[in-house]
Symmetry: C2
Subunit: 226 residues, 2 copies
DNA sequence: CGTAGCCTTGAAGGTGATCAATGTTTGTGG
DNA sequence: CCACAAACATTGATCACCTTCAAGGCTACG
Protein backbone atom coordinates (compact mmCIF):
# COMPACT_ATOMS: atom_id res chain seq x y z
CA UNK A 1 0.00 0.00 0.00
CA UNK A 2 2.81 2.44 0.77
CA UNK A 3 4.12 1.70 -2.68
CA UNK A 4 0.75 2.58 -4.08
CA UNK A 5 0.46 5.79 -2.15
CA UNK A 6 3.76 7.01 -3.40
CA UNK A 7 2.76 6.46 -6.99
CA UNK A 8 -0.60 8.08 -6.34
CA UNK A 9 1.10 11.08 -4.79
CA UNK A 10 2.51 11.82 -8.22
CA UNK A 11 -0.88 12.01 -9.89
CA UNK A 12 -2.65 15.27 -10.55
CA UNK A 13 -5.42 14.30 -8.18
CA UNK A 14 -3.23 14.08 -5.10
CA UNK A 15 -0.33 16.30 -6.06
CA UNK A 16 -0.81 18.68 -3.13
CA UNK A 17 -1.50 16.03 -0.49
CA UNK A 18 0.60 14.39 2.17
CA UNK A 19 0.82 10.61 2.45
CA UNK A 20 -1.43 10.74 5.51
CA UNK A 21 -4.06 12.73 3.73
CA UNK A 22 -3.98 10.34 0.82
CA UNK A 23 -4.38 7.41 3.13
CA UNK A 24 -7.48 9.00 4.64
CA UNK A 25 -8.96 9.55 1.21
CA UNK A 26 -8.41 5.90 0.38
CA UNK A 27 -10.32 4.60 3.42
CA UNK A 28 -11.71 1.17 2.68
CA UNK A 29 -9.89 1.19 -0.64
CA UNK A 30 -8.46 -1.96 -2.11
CA UNK A 31 -5.79 -2.50 -4.67
CA UNK A 32 -6.79 -4.58 -7.65
CA UNK A 33 -4.52 -5.92 -10.31
CA UNK A 34 -6.35 -6.68 -13.50
CA UNK A 35 -5.16 -8.83 -16.32
CA UNK A 36 -5.46 -7.83 -19.94
CA UNK A 37 -9.12 -7.79 -20.94
CA UNK A 38 -10.33 -8.35 -17.38
CA UNK A 39 -13.45 -6.46 -16.39
CA UNK A 40 -13.44 -4.10 -13.40
CA UNK A 41 -17.17 -3.48 -13.42
CA UNK A 42 -19.99 -4.09 -15.79
CA UNK A 43 -22.64 -1.72 -17.09
CA UNK A 44 -25.92 -2.08 -15.18
CA UNK A 45 -24.26 -3.53 -12.08
CA UNK A 46 -24.98 -1.69 -8.87
CA UNK A 47 -22.38 1.04 -8.45
CA UNK A 48 -20.86 0.53 -5.03
CA UNK A 49 -17.30 1.59 -5.74
CA UNK A 50 -15.44 4.10 -7.77
CA UNK A 51 -11.85 3.66 -8.85
CA UNK A 52 -8.57 5.38 -9.53
CA UNK A 53 -6.28 4.06 -12.22
CA UNK A 54 -2.76 3.63 -10.89
CA UNK A 55 -1.06 1.86 -13.76
CA UNK A 56 -2.07 0.59 -17.16
CA UNK A 57 -5.35 1.63 -18.73
CA UNK A 58 -9.08 1.03 -18.71
CA UNK A 59 -11.45 1.31 -21.59
CA UNK A 60 -14.93 2.45 -20.72
CA UNK A 61 -17.28 0.72 -23.06
CA UNK A 62 -20.94 0.40 -23.69
CA UNK A 63 -22.70 -2.15 -25.85
CA UNK A 64 -25.12 -0.80 -28.42
CA UNK A 65 -28.47 -2.07 -29.62
CA UNK A 66 -26.83 -3.04 -32.90
CA UNK A 67 -24.58 -5.51 -31.12
CA UNK A 68 -21.28 -3.72 -31.42
CA UNK A 69 -19.44 -1.90 -28.65
CA UNK A 70 -18.67 1.77 -28.35
CA UNK A 71 -15.65 2.95 -26.41
CA UNK A 72 -16.53 6.11 -24.53
CA UNK A 73 -13.18 6.84 -22.96
CA UNK A 74 -9.71 5.51 -22.30
CA UNK A 75 -8.77 6.05 -18.68
CA UNK A 76 -5.10 6.64 -17.94
CA UNK A 77 -3.18 6.52 -14.65
CA UNK A 78 -4.51 9.25 -12.38
CA UNK A 79 -7.96 9.17 -13.93
CA UNK A 80 -10.95 8.62 -11.69
CA UNK A 81 -13.75 6.46 -13.02
CA UNK A 82 -17.35 6.19 -11.85
CA UNK A 83 -17.01 9.18 -9.54
CA UNK A 84 -20.02 11.04 -10.87
CA UNK A 85 -22.31 8.13 -10.16
CA UNK A 86 -21.34 8.10 -6.47
CA UNK A 87 -23.76 10.94 -5.81
CA UNK A 88 -26.71 8.78 -6.74
CA UNK A 89 -28.20 6.29 -4.35
CA UNK A 90 -28.66 2.79 -5.73
CA UNK A 91 -27.51 3.72 -9.20
CA UNK A 92 -26.01 1.34 -11.72
CA UNK A 93 -22.81 1.85 -13.69
CA UNK A 94 -23.71 3.35 -17.04
CA UNK A 95 -20.69 1.72 -18.72
CA UNK A 96 -18.35 -1.22 -18.32
CA UNK A 97 -14.69 -0.84 -17.50
CA UNK A 98 -12.17 -3.26 -19.01
CA UNK A 99 -8.42 -3.40 -18.52
CA UNK A 100 -6.10 -2.87 -21.46
CA UNK A 101 -2.89 -4.67 -20.63
CA UNK A 102 -1.94 -5.44 -17.02
CA UNK A 103 -3.56 -2.73 -14.98
CA UNK A 104 -3.57 -1.64 -11.37
CA UNK A 105 -6.44 0.29 -9.86
CA UNK A 106 -7.67 1.23 -6.43
CA UNK A 107 -11.33 0.66 -5.81
CA UNK A 108 -12.90 2.80 -3.12
CA UNK A 109 -16.31 2.26 -1.58
CA UNK A 110 -19.10 4.71 -2.19
CA UNK A 111 -19.31 5.44 1.52
CA UNK A 112 -15.81 6.87 1.55
CA UNK A 113 -16.74 9.10 -1.34
CA UNK A 114 -19.81 10.43 0.38
CA UNK A 115 -18.05 11.09 3.65
CA UNK A 116 -14.41 11.92 3.06
CA UNK A 117 -14.35 13.03 -0.57
CA UNK A 118 -17.64 14.90 -0.70
CA UNK A 119 -16.56 17.18 2.13
CA UNK A 120 -13.15 17.90 0.69
CA UNK A 121 -13.38 20.96 -1.51
CA UNK A 122 -9.93 20.51 -2.93
CA UNK A 123 -10.62 16.99 -4.09
CA UNK A 124 -13.99 17.86 -5.53
CA UNK A 125 -12.30 20.54 -7.53
CA UNK A 126 -9.73 18.11 -8.85
CA UNK A 127 -12.48 15.72 -9.82
CA UNK A 128 -14.14 18.52 -11.68
CA UNK A 129 -10.89 18.99 -13.51
CA UNK A 130 -10.90 15.35 -14.52
CA UNK A 131 -14.50 15.64 -15.66
CA UNK A 132 -13.75 18.76 -17.56
CA UNK A 133 -11.06 17.11 -19.59
CA UNK A 134 -13.31 14.13 -20.19
CA UNK A 135 -16.05 16.42 -21.41
CA UNK A 136 -13.58 18.29 -23.60
CA UNK A 137 -12.52 15.04 -25.16
CA UNK A 138 -16.12 14.10 -25.92
CA UNK A 139 -16.64 17.52 -27.47
CA UNK A 140 -13.53 17.21 -29.57
CA UNK A 141 -14.75 13.87 -30.82
CA UNK A 142 -18.18 15.17 -31.62
CA UNK A 143 -16.65 18.05 -33.51
CA UNK A 144 -15.12 15.48 -35.85
CA UNK A 145 -18.33 13.64 -36.80
CA UNK A 146 -18.40 15.03 -40.28
CA UNK A 147 -14.70 14.64 -40.90
CA UNK A 148 -13.36 11.72 -42.88
CA UNK A 149 -12.17 8.57 -41.24
CA UNK A 150 -8.41 9.21 -41.52
CA UNK A 151 -8.85 12.52 -39.71
CA UNK A 152 -10.82 10.90 -36.95
CA UNK A 153 -8.25 8.19 -36.41
CA UNK A 154 -5.40 10.67 -36.47
CA UNK A 155 -7.10 12.87 -33.89
CA UNK A 156 -7.83 9.92 -31.67
CA UNK A 157 -4.23 8.76 -31.74
CA UNK A 158 -2.91 12.21 -30.92
CA UNK A 159 -5.38 12.55 -28.09
CA UNK A 160 -4.37 9.19 -26.64
CA UNK A 161 -0.73 10.01 -26.92
CA UNK A 162 -1.19 13.23 -24.98
CA UNK A 163 -3.43 11.64 -22.42
CA UNK A 164 -1.14 8.70 -21.71
CA UNK A 165 2.30 10.08 -22.20
CA UNK A 166 2.25 13.79 -21.73
CA UNK A 167 4.33 15.40 -24.44
CA UNK A 168 7.01 14.28 -26.78
CA UNK A 169 6.55 10.51 -26.62
CA UNK A 170 5.65 8.76 -29.82
CA UNK A 171 4.83 5.23 -28.68
CA UNK A 172 1.43 4.52 -27.21
CA UNK A 173 2.05 2.69 -23.93
CA UNK A 174 -1.10 0.61 -24.14
CA UNK A 175 -2.02 -2.35 -26.31
CA UNK A 176 -4.55 -0.92 -28.75
CA UNK A 177 -6.22 -3.04 -31.38
CA UNK A 178 -7.69 -1.78 -34.64
CA UNK A 179 -11.05 -2.97 -33.36
CA UNK A 180 -10.70 -0.68 -30.35
CA UNK A 181 -9.81 2.25 -32.53
CA UNK A 182 -12.82 1.44 -34.67
CA UNK A 183 -15.08 1.25 -31.62
CA UNK A 184 -13.85 4.57 -30.36
CA UNK A 185 -14.20 6.53 -33.59
CA UNK A 186 -17.38 4.81 -34.67
CA UNK A 187 -16.12 2.96 -37.71
CA UNK A 188 -15.70 -0.63 -38.87
CA UNK A 189 -12.49 -2.56 -38.23
CA UNK A 190 -11.92 -3.07 -41.91
CA UNK A 191 -12.01 0.62 -42.65
CA UNK A 192 -9.61 1.37 -39.81
CA UNK A 193 -7.27 -1.30 -41.08
CA UNK A 194 -7.34 0.10 -44.60
CA UNK A 195 -6.41 3.54 -43.34
CA UNK A 196 -3.69 2.40 -40.98
CA UNK A 197 -2.19 -0.08 -43.41
CA UNK A 198 -1.65 2.75 -45.81
CA UNK A 199 0.02 4.75 -43.07
CA UNK A 200 2.27 1.83 -42.25
CA UNK A 201 3.29 1.50 -45.88
CA UNK A 202 4.07 5.19 -46.10
CA UNK A 203 6.12 4.94 -42.93
CA UNK A 204 3.89 7.28 -40.95
CA UNK A 205 3.29 4.76 -38.18
CA UNK A 206 4.72 1.44 -37.11
CA UNK A 207 3.08 -1.36 -35.15
CA UNK A 208 4.86 -3.90 -33.00
CA UNK A 209 2.63 -6.32 -31.13
CA UNK A 210 -0.28 -3.99 -30.60
CA UNK A 211 1.87 -1.06 -29.69
CA UNK A 212 1.54 1.82 -32.09
CA UNK A 213 4.46 4.08 -32.77
CA UNK A 214 4.03 7.39 -34.55
CA UNK A 215 6.99 7.86 -36.83
CA UNK A 216 5.90 11.00 -38.65
CA UNK A 217 3.98 13.02 -36.11
CA UNK A 218 3.79 15.99 -38.46
CA UNK A 219 1.85 13.93 -40.98
CA UNK A 220 -0.56 12.65 -38.35
CA UNK A 221 -1.16 16.16 -37.09
CA UNK A 222 -1.78 17.32 -40.61
CA UNK A 223 -4.22 14.49 -41.26
CA UNK A 224 -6.08 15.29 -38.05
CA UNK A 225 -7.07 18.68 -39.32
CA UNK A 226 -8.21 18.09 -42.82
CA UNK B 1 -35.73 39.66 -9.27
CA UNK B 2 -38.27 38.26 -6.81
CA UNK B 3 -40.16 36.98 -9.81
CA UNK B 4 -37.00 35.27 -10.98
CA UNK B 5 -36.26 33.72 -7.64
CA UNK B 6 -39.66 32.18 -7.44
CA UNK B 7 -39.27 30.54 -10.82
CA UNK B 8 -35.77 29.40 -9.90
CA UNK B 9 -37.05 27.90 -6.70
CA UNK B 10 -38.94 25.41 -8.81
CA UNK B 11 -35.84 24.14 -10.59
CA UNK B 12 -34.06 20.99 -9.55
CA UNK B 13 -31.00 22.99 -8.64
CA UNK B 14 -32.67 25.04 -5.92
CA UNK B 15 -35.56 22.80 -4.97
CA UNK B 16 -34.52 22.49 -1.35
CA UNK B 17 -33.56 26.12 -0.81
CA UNK B 18 -35.28 29.08 0.74
CA UNK B 19 -35.63 32.37 -1.13
CA UNK B 20 -32.92 33.88 1.06
CA UNK B 21 -30.52 31.09 0.32
CA UNK B 22 -31.18 31.42 -3.37
CA UNK B 23 -30.55 35.12 -3.22
CA UNK B 24 -27.19 34.50 -1.59
CA UNK B 25 -26.24 32.05 -4.29
CA UNK B 26 -27.09 34.60 -6.95
CA UNK B 27 -24.79 37.29 -5.52
CA UNK B 28 -23.72 39.64 -8.27
CA UNK B 29 -26.02 37.86 -10.67
CA UNK B 30 -27.82 39.68 -13.41
CA UNK B 31 -30.89 38.79 -15.35
CA UNK B 32 -30.50 38.78 -19.09
CA UNK B 33 -33.24 38.49 -21.65
CA UNK B 34 -31.97 37.22 -24.94
CA UNK B 35 -33.72 37.44 -28.25
CA UNK B 36 -33.96 34.54 -30.66
CA UNK B 37 -30.50 33.78 -32.02
CA UNK B 38 -28.77 36.20 -29.67
CA UNK B 39 -25.44 35.03 -28.31
CA UNK B 40 -24.84 34.79 -24.56
CA UNK B 41 -21.14 34.10 -24.81
CA UNK B 42 -18.76 33.12 -27.54
CA UNK B 43 -16.23 30.30 -27.67
CA UNK B 44 -12.71 31.50 -26.86
CA UNK B 45 -13.92 34.53 -24.90
CA UNK B 46 -12.59 34.80 -21.38
CA UNK B 47 -14.96 32.93 -19.08
CA UNK B 48 -15.95 35.36 -16.34
CA UNK B 49 -19.52 34.27 -15.76
CA UNK B 50 -21.54 31.14 -15.69
CA UNK B 51 -25.27 31.07 -16.23
CA UNK B 52 -28.52 29.44 -15.27
CA UNK B 53 -31.27 29.10 -17.83
CA UNK B 54 -34.56 30.38 -16.44
CA UNK B 55 -36.78 30.29 -19.48
CA UNK B 56 -36.41 29.36 -23.11
CA UNK B 57 -33.36 27.47 -24.31
CA UNK B 58 -29.72 27.79 -25.24
CA UNK B 59 -27.81 25.81 -27.81
CA UNK B 60 -24.19 25.20 -27.01
CA UNK B 61 -22.33 25.18 -30.28
CA UNK B 62 -18.85 24.89 -31.54
CA UNK B 63 -17.59 25.70 -35.00
CA UNK B 64 -15.54 23.01 -36.71
CA UNK B 65 -12.52 23.23 -38.94
CA UNK B 66 -14.71 22.25 -41.88
CA UNK B 67 -16.76 25.42 -41.47
CA UNK B 68 -19.98 23.93 -40.17
CA UNK B 69 -21.24 24.07 -36.62
CA UNK B 70 -21.76 21.26 -34.16
CA UNK B 71 -24.36 21.54 -31.45
CA UNK B 72 -23.05 19.95 -28.29
CA UNK B 73 -26.05 20.39 -26.07
CA UNK B 74 -29.43 22.04 -25.72
CA UNK B 75 -29.74 23.69 -22.32
CA UNK B 76 -33.23 23.80 -20.80
CA UNK B 77 -34.60 25.85 -17.90
CA UNK B 78 -32.78 24.81 -14.75
CA UNK B 79 -29.63 23.85 -16.60
CA UNK B 80 -26.35 25.41 -15.57
CA UNK B 81 -23.91 26.29 -18.31
CA UNK B 82 -20.19 27.01 -18.11
CA UNK B 83 -20.03 25.87 -14.49
CA UNK B 84 -17.16 23.44 -15.00
CA UNK B 85 -14.94 26.12 -16.44
CA UNK B 86 -15.31 28.27 -13.32
CA UNK B 87 -12.69 26.21 -11.56
CA UNK B 88 -10.03 27.31 -14.00
CA UNK B 89 -8.31 30.63 -13.72
CA UNK B 90 -8.24 32.70 -16.91
CA UNK B 91 -9.87 30.03 -19.00
CA UNK B 92 -11.89 30.64 -22.15
CA UNK B 93 -15.33 29.28 -22.93
CA UNK B 94 -14.90 26.10 -24.96
CA UNK B 95 -18.23 26.65 -26.73
CA UNK B 96 -20.62 29.42 -27.70
CA UNK B 97 -24.10 29.74 -26.23
CA UNK B 98 -26.94 31.01 -28.41
CA UNK B 99 -30.57 31.57 -27.49
CA UNK B 100 -33.30 29.59 -29.20
CA UNK B 101 -36.42 31.69 -29.02
CA UNK B 102 -36.82 34.42 -26.39
CA UNK B 103 -34.73 33.25 -23.46
CA UNK B 104 -34.11 34.41 -19.94
CA UNK B 105 -30.94 33.54 -18.08
CA UNK B 106 -29.12 34.64 -14.98
CA UNK B 107 -25.44 35.28 -15.38
CA UNK B 108 -23.38 34.97 -12.26
CA UNK B 109 -19.79 36.10 -11.84
CA UNK B 110 -17.02 33.60 -11.40
CA UNK B 111 -16.18 35.10 -8.02
CA UNK B 112 -19.57 34.10 -6.63
CA UNK B 113 -18.99 30.59 -7.86
CA UNK B 114 -15.63 30.30 -6.22
CA UNK B 115 -16.79 31.69 -2.90
CA UNK B 116 -20.45 30.86 -2.34
CA UNK B 117 -21.04 27.91 -4.64
CA UNK B 118 -17.74 26.13 -4.20
CA UNK B 119 -18.23 25.90 -0.45
CA UNK B 120 -21.78 24.68 -0.66
CA UNK B 121 -21.76 20.91 -0.74
CA UNK B 122 -25.40 20.63 -1.61
CA UNK B 123 -25.09 22.84 -4.64
CA UNK B 124 -21.93 21.14 -5.84
CA UNK B 125 -23.79 17.88 -5.67
CA UNK B 126 -26.65 19.27 -7.74
CA UNK B 127 -24.20 20.54 -10.30
CA UNK B 128 -22.72 17.11 -10.47
CA UNK B 129 -26.20 15.84 -11.18
CA UNK B 130 -26.52 18.26 -14.06
CA UNK B 131 -23.14 17.20 -15.37
CA UNK B 132 -24.03 13.60 -15.04
CA UNK B 133 -27.09 13.94 -17.19
CA UNK B 134 -25.11 15.95 -19.71
CA UNK B 135 -22.49 13.23 -19.83
CA UNK B 136 -25.18 10.59 -20.16
CA UNK B 137 -26.65 12.43 -23.10
CA UNK B 138 -23.26 12.59 -24.83
CA UNK B 139 -22.83 8.88 -24.22
CA UNK B 140 -26.26 8.11 -25.61
CA UNK B 141 -25.42 10.09 -28.70
CA UNK B 142 -22.11 8.40 -29.16
CA UNK B 143 -23.77 5.03 -28.82
CA UNK B 144 -25.79 5.91 -31.92
CA UNK B 145 -22.87 6.74 -34.23
CA UNK B 146 -23.28 3.61 -36.30
CA UNK B 147 -27.05 3.78 -36.41
CA UNK B 148 -28.86 5.13 -39.42
CA UNK B 149 -29.93 8.72 -39.68
CA UNK B 150 -33.65 8.20 -38.96
CA UNK B 151 -32.75 6.47 -35.69
CA UNK B 152 -30.44 9.28 -34.69
CA UNK B 153 -33.02 11.93 -35.36
CA UNK B 154 -35.72 10.01 -33.55
CA UNK B 155 -33.51 9.56 -30.51
CA UNK B 156 -32.57 13.20 -30.49
CA UNK B 157 -36.20 14.30 -30.61
CA UNK B 158 -37.18 11.99 -27.79
CA UNK B 159 -34.27 13.17 -25.70
CA UNK B 160 -35.20 16.82 -26.27
CA UNK B 161 -38.80 16.17 -25.44
CA UNK B 162 -37.86 14.58 -22.13
CA UNK B 163 -35.32 17.23 -21.34
CA UNK B 164 -37.62 20.15 -22.04
CA UNK B 165 -41.00 18.92 -21.10
CA UNK B 166 -40.72 16.11 -18.62
CA UNK B 167 -43.11 13.35 -19.55
CA UNK B 168 -46.18 13.11 -21.63
CA UNK B 169 -45.87 16.26 -23.72
CA UNK B 170 -45.61 15.86 -27.46
CA UNK B 171 -44.80 19.37 -28.66
CA UNK B 172 -41.26 20.63 -28.43
CA UNK B 173 -41.44 24.01 -26.71
CA UNK B 174 -38.47 25.46 -28.58
CA UNK B 175 -38.07 26.62 -32.16
CA UNK B 176 -35.91 23.93 -33.71
CA UNK B 177 -34.78 24.10 -37.32
CA UNK B 178 -33.78 21.15 -39.50
CA UNK B 179 -30.35 22.70 -39.65
CA UNK B 180 -30.07 22.54 -35.89
CA UNK B 181 -31.14 18.94 -35.84
CA UNK B 182 -28.57 18.25 -38.52
CA UNK B 183 -25.87 20.01 -36.54
CA UNK B 184 -26.70 18.05 -33.44
CA UNK B 185 -26.78 14.59 -34.99
CA UNK B 186 -23.90 15.23 -37.37
CA UNK B 187 -25.72 15.11 -40.66
CA UNK B 188 -26.53 17.44 -43.56
CA UNK B 189 -29.69 19.55 -43.60
CA UNK B 190 -30.90 17.92 -46.76
CA UNK B 191 -30.73 14.45 -45.31
CA UNK B 192 -32.58 15.55 -42.19
CA UNK B 193 -35.24 17.17 -44.33
CA UNK B 194 -35.68 14.04 -46.41
CA UNK B 195 -36.19 11.94 -43.31
CA UNK B 196 -38.56 14.35 -41.59
CA UNK B 197 -40.56 15.10 -44.71
CA UNK B 198 -41.33 11.44 -44.98
CA UNK B 199 -42.40 11.42 -41.35
CA UNK B 200 -44.65 14.40 -41.96
CA UNK B 201 -46.25 12.69 -44.93
CA UNK B 202 -46.86 9.55 -42.92
CA UNK B 203 -48.39 11.64 -40.15
CA UNK B 204 -45.75 10.72 -37.59
CA UNK B 205 -44.85 14.34 -36.86
CA UNK B 206 -46.25 17.73 -37.64
CA UNK B 207 -44.44 21.06 -37.90
CA UNK B 208 -45.98 24.45 -37.35
CA UNK B 209 -43.58 27.37 -37.57
CA UNK B 210 -40.51 25.62 -36.27
CA UNK B 211 -42.37 23.83 -33.52
CA UNK B 212 -42.30 20.10 -33.89
CA UNK B 213 -45.16 17.99 -32.67
CA UNK B 214 -44.84 14.25 -32.32
CA UNK B 215 -48.11 12.71 -33.42
CA UNK B 216 -47.17 9.07 -33.32
CA UNK B 217 -44.78 8.73 -30.42
CA UNK B 218 -44.82 4.94 -30.68
CA UNK B 219 -43.41 5.12 -34.20
CA UNK B 220 -40.69 7.54 -33.18
CA UNK B 221 -39.72 5.33 -30.27
CA UNK B 222 -39.61 2.34 -32.57
CA UNK B 223 -37.47 4.20 -35.09
CA UNK B 224 -35.07 5.25 -32.35
CA UNK B 225 -34.13 1.68 -31.62
CA UNK B 226 -33.59 0.16 -34.99
C1' DC C 1 -41.55 44.73 -51.08
C1' DG C 2 -37.23 43.01 -50.64
C1' DT C 3 -34.26 40.39 -47.87
C1' DA C 4 -33.14 36.83 -44.58
C1' DG C 5 -34.00 32.57 -42.83
C1' DC C 6 -35.80 28.27 -43.62
C1' DC C 7 -37.58 24.31 -46.29
C1' DT C 8 -37.67 21.37 -50.40
C1' DT C 9 -36.44 18.42 -54.32
C1' DG C 10 -33.49 16.10 -57.73
C1' DA C 11 -29.31 14.11 -59.65
C1' DA C 12 -24.76 12.38 -59.16
C1' DG C 13 -21.12 10.51 -56.71
C1' DG C 14 -18.15 8.97 -52.92
C1' DT C 15 -16.98 7.18 -48.41
C1' DG C 16 -17.28 3.65 -45.66
C1' DA C 17 -20.19 -0.59 -44.39
C1' DT C 18 -20.91 -5.32 -45.08
C1' DC C 19 -19.78 -9.96 -46.25
C1' DA C 20 -16.63 -13.52 -46.93
C1' DA C 21 -12.40 -15.69 -46.89
C1' DT C 22 -7.69 -16.09 -45.30
C1' DG C 23 -3.36 -15.09 -42.96
C1' DT C 24 -0.91 -14.14 -38.66
C1' DT C 25 0.07 -13.88 -33.92
C1' DT C 26 -0.77 -15.01 -29.16
C1' DG C 27 -2.09 -17.88 -25.59
C1' DT C 28 -3.16 -22.27 -23.35
C1' DG C 29 -3.57 -26.97 -22.03
C1' DG C 30 -2.08 -31.63 -22.67
C1' DC D 1 7.13 -28.16 -26.32
C1' DC D 2 3.70 -29.05 -29.51
C1' DA D 3 -1.12 -28.56 -31.04
C1' DC D 4 -5.00 -26.21 -31.18
C1' DA D 5 -7.90 -22.37 -30.12
C1' DA D 6 -8.66 -17.63 -29.66
C1' DA D 7 -7.63 -13.10 -30.79
C1' DC D 8 -6.17 -10.06 -34.15
C1' DA D 9 -4.95 -8.35 -38.91
C1' DT D 10 -5.77 -8.33 -43.81
C1' DT D 11 -7.72 -8.14 -48.53
C1' DG D 12 -11.20 -7.91 -52.12
C1' DA D 13 -15.79 -7.18 -54.05
C1' DT D 14 -20.14 -5.12 -53.80
C1' DC D 15 -23.41 -1.87 -52.50
C1' DA D 16 -26.14 1.39 -49.54
C1' DC D 17 -26.45 5.52 -47.21
C1' DC D 18 -25.64 9.91 -47.05
C1' DT D 19 -23.23 13.99 -48.86
C1' DT D 20 -22.70 17.47 -52.13
C1' DC D 21 -24.20 20.63 -55.50
C1' DA D 22 -27.66 23.24 -57.65
C1' DA D 23 -31.91 25.42 -58.10
C1' DG D 24 -36.09 27.04 -56.43
C1' DG D 25 -40.09 28.00 -53.22
C1' DC D 26 -42.16 29.65 -49.00
C1' DT D 27 -42.85 32.68 -45.00
C1' DA D 28 -41.95 36.37 -41.81
C1' DC D 29 -40.52 40.76 -40.88
C1' DG D 30 -38.44 45.38 -41.10
Amino acid sequence: MTQLISSLARTQLFEDRSADQIEALLAGGRERRLKHREMLFRADDLAEHFAIVVEGALKLIRPTILGNDVIMFFAAPGDVVAALIMHHAHAAYPISAVAMGPTTVITIPKSTFNTVWASDQGILQKINGVLFSRMSEMHAQKAMTKAQLPSKIARQIISLLEHFEGEGETILPIPLTRQEIADSVGASVESVIRVMSEWSQKGVIRTTDQHIEIVRMDQIVELSRI
